[in-house]
C-alpha cells in the first residue's frame, strides 16, 4: 500500500516577539528568524504512518511510505530526516521565498492532486488538518475533492487490515468513530496524542539521508495568476491586554489570600 504523507514546515510562532506581529505591504508577517519545525498536525500524521508501518508485521501488508512538501530549499533537511526514518521517496515541490502561498490551499491541493494523478499514484494520503500559519483547514478536503476520494477528518489512529483496507479511528462531533475503509482515501489528522516524530540516528542519516529528493518545479506564475476564489485582503494584529494587576506578597499563601479576598470571593459568591 502506497501512502503519501504531506507536510508543511512552519516557523515556531511562539518565538515571534509581540511587536513583530505586523503585516507588510504584501500582507506578510516576518517570521524568518523563528526556528523551523514540523507543523504539529503534520508531525502527528508522519509519526502515525511510521507506527502503522511498525504494526505491519503479521498483517502481510507492505507499506510504502512517501512524503511530499511544498516548500523552500531550507526545508529539505526535514525530507532527509524522513529518508533516514526509512521513508521510500521524498518530494519537494519548490516554492520560492517571495510567494505567499499560506492562504492558497487550492493551489497546494492542486499540486498534490497533480502529483498523484500525473506522476506517482498513491493509495492513501495522510496529512494534518491545518497549519499553524494559514489555519485554512482546507487542504486535505480540497485534495479529496480534486481526486474524487473519500476523506476522513480528525484522524487519531491508524491500524493495518490488509492490502486494500485500513482501520481508521477519528473524532466526529461528540463521538469517536472506528471504521474499516477501503483505499483510496484522504486522511486528515487532528489532535492525536503523543504526536512527536521519532528521531533517526546519525548513522541512518548518513546511510539513507543522501537519497536524492525529487524536485517538482511548478509554474508559479501561472498558478498564482489564476484567480483565487478566496483572497486575503487585510491582515491585522490582535492585541490582547487586560489590567494585569500584579498581586504582591511575601509568600504564595499571602498572595493567594490577597487574590481571594480582593478579587475572587465576591465573584465566586455571585455565581
Amino acid at each position: 500500500m502506497k501512502i503519501l504523507g504531506c507536510f508543511k514546515i512552519v516557523p515556531d510562532l511562539d518565538l515571534i516577539a509581540e511587536e513583530d506581529w505586523i503585516a507588510d505591504g504584501q500582507l506578510q508577517v516576518d517570521t524568518s528568524y523563528a526556528k523551523l519545525s514540523w507543523n504539529c498536525f503534520d508531525e502527528g500524521a508522519l509519526e502515525m504512518m511510521l507506527k502503522l508501518s511498525d504494526l505491519s508485521e503479521g498483517f502481510d501488508v507492505v507499506y510504502e511510505l512517501n512524503a511530499l512538501t511544498v516548500g523552500r530549499q531550507r526545508h529539505e533537511s526535514f525530507l532527509k530526516t524522513l529518508y533516514a526514518l526509512k521513508f521510500e521517496h521524498a518530494v519537494r515541490v519548490e516554492a520560492e521565498e517571495d510567494q505567499d502561498i499560506r492562504f492558497c490551499p487550492e493551489i497546494i491541493a492542486e499540486l498534490v492532486a497533480g502529483y498523484i494523478a500525473g506522476t506517482s499514484p498513491q493509495d492513501v494520503v495522510v496529512m494534518g488538518m491545518q497549519s499553524s500559519e494559514g489555519c485554512n483547514m482546507k487542504t486535505p478536503l480540497l485534495l479529496a475533492e480534486a481526486l474524487g476520494w473519500p476523506c476522513i477528518t480528525e484522524v487519531t489512529a491508524l491500524e493495518p487490515v490488509d492490502e486494500g483496507h485500513l482501520k481508521v479511528t477519528s473524532e466526529e462531533d461528540g463521538r469517536t468513530a472506528v471504521q474499516v475503509v477501503g483505499v483510496p482515501c484522504v486522511l486528515a489528522v487532528g489532535n492525536a496524542p503523543s504526536s512527536y516524530l521519532r528521531v533517526p540516528t546519525l548513522k541512518d542519516k548518513m546511510k539513507l539521508g543522501k537519497k536524492p529528493i525529487e524536485h517538482i518545479v511548478p509554474d508559479w506564475e501561472q498558478l498564482l495568476e489564476k484567480e483565487q476564489n478566496v483572497e486575503l485582503t487585510e491582515l491585522a494584529a490582535v492585541e490582547e491586554r487586560r489590567d494585569a494587576v500584579l498581586i504582591e506578597g511575601g509568600t504564595p499563601e499571602e498572595k493567594a489570600r490577597e487574590l481571594y479576598e480582593s478579587y475572587l470571593k465576591g465573584r465566586l459568591e455571585k455565581i
Partner: protein, 485 residues
Amino acid sequence: MAIISREQIVEGLVDILGSEQVVTDEQVLKESSLDRYRKYEQVCEVYTQPIPAAVVYVKSAEEVSEVLTFANDNEINVVPRTGQSAIEGGLETALKDSVVIDGSTMNKVIKVDEYNMQVTCQCGVPLQELDDMLRERGYTTGHSPQSKPLAQMGGLVATRSIGQFSTLYGGIEDMIVGMEAVFPNGKICRIKNVPRRAAGPDIRHIICGNEGALCYITEVTLKLFKWQPDNNRYIGYMLDDEYMKLGFDCLREVMVEGYKPSFARLYDAADAQQHFSAWLPEGKAILIWMAEGPANITPAIEAGIKEMMSKHPELEEVDPKLIEKWYGGLNWGPEQIAEEKEEIKATQNIGITTEVSGSWDNIYDIYKTACDRILEEVPDMTLMGGHSSHSYINGTNMYFVYYYNIVDCAPEEEINKYHDRINQIICEQVIKYGGSIVHHHGLGKARAKYVTQEYGSSYYMLKTLKQAFDPNGIMNMGTLIPLRK
C-alpha cells in the same frame, strides 16, 4: 552512614524544625534522590539511588546549624539544595538515609545597596526574580545562566556557575562579595563585604564551588552593574563547519586584542541547526558576539570585532537582527523541562550536555577528537555537536551537546550504556589534551571519579579541605570526592 535509624532521624529533625518543615512523602523523597544527570531514570520514574529519609525546609542559618549539628553527631549524610537545576549528580543522595536540606524557602532579598553597588540575598532567592527586580531599577547582577528560571543563589555559588555574559562580567566567582555559610559542626561563618582584601588566602573560595561537600551557603552578596540593554550590539558570522578551528581562532583574536564583549560564542553546524535552522544553511557553523555596556563603548567593540573578522574570507556576515531575536528566547525553565520529559517518553530520544574547558592550543583537539570518538564508539547517536560560549584571554570552554535514541535498554541500564560512556570519552580526551573536565556545571557525582586526574598533585589540597571541614563525612558524600566502593 547514619548511626541511628531512619525513624530516629526523622524524629530528631521534627524535634528541631517541627513537622511542617520535615517532608517524608514518598514521591517527594524519590524525586529528591536524584537530579537531571539521571534524566532518563527521572522520566521513567525509576529510582536507583538510595531514597533519602527526609527532605527538610530550613528558614534560617540557625536552623541549618542545628540540622547540621544533629547530622554531624549522628553521621547522617546531608545534601544541600536550592533551585534543583543540578545536572551532574550533585543532588543525588548517594548514601542510605540521607537528609536533603532545602533552602528554597530562605528567599528574602535582604538589601539592595545601590550606592555600594551590591545586593545581599538569602540562598533561596531565585536568580530570575532577583535580576528582574534589579533590572526594573536599572541594574543587573550580570549573571545569566541558561538555568536562570530555575536556579537560586545558594546553588549558583555552590556550583561555581557561569552565565551567558561571562566574557564581560565573569563567572559567579567574579561577582561574589561576602557570604555566610554553615559548617558541619554547626559553626556559622560570615565573610564581610569589602571590595578587595589581601588578608591571607581568599577564603570565599572554600565556599564558592564547594558543591555542598564542605558547607551550607545561607547568604550571598553579589556585585551590581548598570543595566543598559538599549546599547547592546550584536555581531554574527557564519562559516563552514570544517573551519571550526578558525572559529576558535576568531574567538581568540577578539580576546587577545583586548575587547570585552559580554557574549562570545561559536556553534558547530550540528548544534547551530538546533537554534538557527530558520535561516542558517545546513553545514554552517556560526560565530556570535554581543557588546554590552555604555553607549560609547559598544559601537567601538562592534567596529573592532567587525574589522578583525573582515580579514577572514571564510566568514560571511549575518544580519544582527537575527542574532538579537534568537537571543530574546534563550532561557530554559520548568515548562521546557516538562515538555522535554514527554518528548523523551514518546520518542525515546534524549539530549544531554557536558561542558569542559581548554586552552587555545588544545580546545579544537578536545572538541574534534571527543566528537569523533563518540560517533565511533557509542551506538544510536542522533546528534553530536557543541558550542563554545565562554572565552578568556588564555582559552575557552566547550559545551558538548548530544542526543541519542535509547534502544533495547532498561531505564536502570541507560546510564551505563550511553550517558556515562559518552561522559567518559569526553573526560578522557580532555585529560589527554590538558583541559579541565568541568567548566561550569560542577563535578557532582558524575565526574567525581575523575577528580584525581583532574587535580593531579593538588588533589592533596582538596582532600585536606574536605577532611578539615567535614571530618565525619556528612556533607554531600560522593560529590567532589568519590565514594570508596
